[in-house]
């Protein structure tokens, strides 16, 4: 009897430990980490693909399929600009790879807003929201967000306009799905680092998932914030 009672208590205790309380009323109130503030991209990887516009045909490391390569090789930045598509490299599948600053704020209790100075884009991460209904496609699409214990943010983005993974025309299609994980970490000297792992699924142009991770340093204030419009070149 003593063992049985212990087993019951053990089970209850375990359940309680794994599911601590009901979900909070709002995403902001239940935030598992504070991502707000100014973050600057720290370009230690893919330098020549991010800090300058790579030359046409320089697609190294992107797992494109044949159709993807065909489209990439047809890249024409002048035509993009003429068609008003100069923001194709600033869509949700690529924006976090831009050499840019990002400002993260709570737009409301259930919406996290991520703005970039490069390209002057704004992403909205919707918590406690139904999946995106078919609607107008935009560069930033529609993002569903959820906290993942103990301290990660998962964001899934759909409803995208077709854009570029890299500025020299590496394509993603409007059916691409972007899954991102945001994690914060301490760095030497009391600094903070934001790590964003990005997974792009796009069978139209990619032979496999495109997975990159980007790191950002926290800045105390926004004095270096410098909004700059999109550029196709």
């Amino acid at each position: 009897m003593r063992i049985s009672l212990a087993a019951v208590l053990v089970s209850l205790s375990c359940l309680a430990a794994q599911d601590r309380g009901a979900p909070p009323a709002t995403a902001k109130g239940g935030a598992l980490t504070d991502l707000t503030g100014y973050w600057v991209a720290y370009v230690t990887e893919d330098w020549r693909f991010r800090m300058i516009t790579p030359r046409k045909g320089d697609f190294q490391a992107v797992p494109m399929n044949e159709e993807g390569r065909r489209v990439a090789n047809a890249w024409d930045p002048a035509a993009d600009e003429a068609a008003g598509n100069q923001c194709k490299a600033y869509g949700a599948a690529a924006i976090m790879r831009q050499a840019a600053r990002f400002h993260i704020t709570w737009q409301d209790e259930n919406t996290l807003r991520v703005e970039s100075d490069a390209g002057m884009q704004a992403r909205l991460f919707h918590f406690n929201s139904a999946p995106a209904a078919p609607g107008e496609r935009t560069w930033q699409g529609y993002s569903n967000a959820q906290w993942e214990r103990p301290s990660s943010l998962k964001v899934t983005t759909t409803n995208l306009r077709a854009g570029y993974l890299r500025k020299n025309g590496v394509p993603y299609s409007e059916s691409a799905i972007v899954t991102e994980y945001f994690d914060k970490a301490p760095a030497p000297g009391g600094a903070e680092v934001l790590l964003v792992t990005s997974i792009v699924d796009d069978p139209k142009y990619l032979a496999q998932q495109f997975i990159v991770s980007s790191q950002f340093k926290k800045e105390a204030e926004g004095s270096k914030w410098d909004p700059t419009p999109c550029s196709a070149k």
């Binding site: 003593r2 009672l5 212990a6 208590l9 053990v10 205790s13 375990c14 430990a17 794994q18 600057v40 991209a41 720290y42 370009v43 230690t44 990887e45 893919d46 330098w47 020549r48 693909f49 800090m51 300058i52 790579p54 030359r55 320089d58 190294q60 490391a61 992107v62 797992p63 050499a99 840019a100 600053r101 100075d117 490069a118 993942e148 214990r149 103990p150 301290s151 990660s152 998962k154 994980y181 994690d183 970490a185 760095a187 030497p188 000297g189 680092v193 790590l195 792992t197 997974i199 998932q209 495109f210 997975i211 990159v212 991770s213 980007s214 790191q215 340093k217 270096k224 410098d226 700059t228």
Partner: protein, 276 residues
């Protein structure tokens, strides 16, 4: 023993156990490389883009000739632990557990042909004295912070931050944080080197769980005569590296970026390029 005491102990064990199970993830297995980020450099001799070298590091890097690798005594030197987040191979990870308690004593990340295995000690042992032997792999300890494995590596031999010759000193350290999201493992690496870096170098790299098993090690390195007969190590004297502008010629990368000036790692440098 009273029933309350028994129950209390059982519950305490349970809570601790539940917290452990909920907080950690399964690290062991085969993690395939996803080389969608370009970390190793292009094979051009002077590609230090994205590395915040200080003056000493830059001078040393520009003196490096890859022909050093043809010297018999250097052919099998391998690369330091930093290569784990830059090299092209996947990770085979396994653990050693205490047979009685079941806790993990250590994780091992298997070797590659040109990188030594890394043992991550999880049993709380301290790092050795600063005077202890330095090895290519270094000495690594780890602990779980929530669901993140945090490791710290010290006691590495002097080597390279990147295969193109950016140097690392034997005072360098490597802190890694392992995050798992579904079948993706992302490692955030922070490299500190007071001798050759102007600021901590922060990298990240993702791997994907593989159903196919990866090898626990690479083939053995066997030295051979590669026609280097000089008695001095191949090198370039200051200002004499003939490849310093290769990145500029081939890709249009400014020289300051190719030689790893720290200011080139931030967005304002992009605007500086555009203004030229």
């Amino acid at each position: 023993m009273g029933s309350n005491t028994v129950l209390g102990k059982v519950m305490l064990l349970c809570v601790l156990g539940c917290q452990t199970a909920a907080a950690q993830f399964e690290l062991t297995g085969s993690w395939a490389a996803r080389n969608h980020e370009f970390l190793t450099g292009d094979g051009l001799p002077v590609d230090f883009t994205g590395i915040p070298l200080n003056e000493e590091g830059r001078t040393r890097a520009l003196s490096y000739s890859e022909s050093q690798l043809s010297m018999v005594e250097r052919q099998c030197q391998g690369w330091p632990a930093f290569y784990l987040v830059q090299g092209p191979f996947g990770l085979k990870i396994w653990s050693e557990t205490d047979p009685l308690k079941g806790n993990v004593i250590s994780y091992t990340i298997g070797a590659w042909e040109d990188r030594a295995p890394m043992i991550i000690w999880m049993d709380g042992r301290p790092h050795p004295s600063q005077y202890a032997e330095h090895t290519r792999a270094g000495f690594t300890t780890g602990l779980w912070e929530g669901n993140t494995l945090v490791t710290r590596t010290t006691h590495m031999k002097a080597g390279f931050l990147r295969k193109t010759g950016a140097p690392s000193s034997d005072e360098a350290s490597l802190t890694m944080r392992f995050y798992r999201h579904g079948d993706v493992l992302t490692i955030l690496a922070i490299i500190e080197d007071p001798i050759y870096l102007a600021e901590p170098w922060i990298l990240s790299r993702s791997f994907q769980l593989s159903a196919a098993p990866l090898s626990t090690s690479g083939p053995p390195c066997i030295t051979a005569f590669e026609a280097t007969t000089r008695e001095t190590a191949p090198h370039y004297l200051p200002e004499k590296n003939p490849f310093v502008d290769e990145m500029t010629k081939k890709y249009g990368v400014p020289r300051d970026a190719a030689i790893g000036k720290p200011e080139t790692l931030y967005p304002e440098y992009k605007k500086k390029i555009a203004a030229r």
